[in-house]
Symmetry: C2
Subunit: 235 residues, 2 copies
């Protein structure tokens, strides 16, 4: 590799680590493909691995019961899945579903635990990431409570676009309804509104972001705040 960028840089939490830490991590991790729809964690089950997405992304979904479920967090290249392990807990808090196929670095729980005491930079970065996720969860409580479907849909599309790194997303209204915890036809109405305003275009399971700045405008402020928080704490 002649580039100054190492393969590990593909995940932001692993980028620019001290060489010793990076090598130690890469020596004990493996690269795995994740397929769309794959379940990585079931709530309360034991977490055996942590995942650091490269070009995949994962939805974390809170389940109240069969009919009441909704996405509360998303992990892509900018983050990780398996926070519990950093906190010394071996159970998964929520359902983790691969929402964007791709690959990820995967590391065994025991290896990660062994690694962290000797990787102060990584360890610190992961703890700060946990802070970001917690803060975003806190504001999501308010966002899901106060903001309407159209704003939340816009926010969700932006977050997904960031992680998918593409203007075109493979998503049905049905799926979006599950993510936002609303009715399918509620999504249809919101999507029509966004399309009419020229912000997105869609057709049978494919949504294209046409006007990203406009979409940011249409989204609730929570999107911008989430970005600002991430940059403030992790960059």
């Amino acid at each position: 590799m002649t580039s100054i960028f190492h393969a590990a840089d593909a995940n932001h939490l692993l980028a620019n680590l001290p060489v010793a830490e990076r090598d130690a991590f890469m020596a004990t991790c493996e690269t795995v493909p994740l397929t769309f729809g794959e379940t990585l964690f079931q709530p309360t089950e034991t977490v055996t691995h942590a995942y650091f997405p490269i070009d995949s992304f994962i939805s974390q979904i809170a389940i109240l019961n069969a009919d009441n479920r909704l996405e509360v967090a998303m992990a892509g290249r900018e983050g990780m899945l398996g926070i519990s392990l950093i906190l010394g807990v071996e159970e998964a808090p929520m359902l983790a579903l691969v929402q964007g196929a791709g690959s990820a670095f995967r590391i065994k729980a025991a290896n990660l635990r062994r690694l962290l005491p000797d990787s102060p930079v990584l360890h610190q970065r992961l703890k700060r990431y946990i802070y970001v996720v917690m803060s975003q969860l806190a504001s999501s409580v308010a966002c899901n409570h106060f903001h309407r479907i159209e704003e939340r849909l816009a926010r969700w599309l932006l977050m997904t676009q960031d992680r998918a790194n593409s203007d075109s997303l493979q998503l049905t209204h049905e799926f979006l309804a599950m993510m936002l915890g609303v009715r399918r036809s509620g999504i249809t109405l919101a999507a029509i509104a966004l399309q009419t305003r020229g912000l997105i275009r869609y057709h049978r399971g494919e949504i294209t972001v046409v006007d990203r700045p406009g979409l940011i405008e249409a989204a609730c402020g929570c999107y911008a705040e989430d970005c600002a928080l991430y940059n403030r704490i992790l960059l």
Copy 2:
């Protein structure tokens, strides 16, 4: 002190620590009184202290804007305030308001930072507490979205009662409305319903829990799940 219980045991996170860790903590902390309505943290401001409530309790409130605010977490004898410090971040994520007057152990940010590396039991316990709070935040996103006011009110009263250690709570409908992020008269209706069912009694700013088991029944399952999670992870 002839009792086998030490003063530190008044906060569950500090109870039954190894003597060395307990002494180190108690040597650098102070006991402070907290008065009702006091603001301990403002969002994004620097956190100078962590608090371990003894018989006080503190609401953590997410603020979207002047009109849209709602409580997302509560810290009493069973927990702490100032999680950011454990994660190596010095800013506060939310507004922290004293909701039940009483006292708390208070420790300076720098002292806590210095203490933790030599206090493995406490450190581990605090990390596991963070996991509990995160999981509760995640399910709160869903709870606030799907459950109705009456169920959420019942849950909130139970959580408050646990921390206040009293059947009688000093609360106005106005205040409850702010906590749950709803209209004042929405609380009045829910309170009437609960009183009619003989679960609570209230009068001008004082609410009394009459039938706790019944109230648990009336609350959404989130209350029981929160308790179960706490016990599973921290006991």
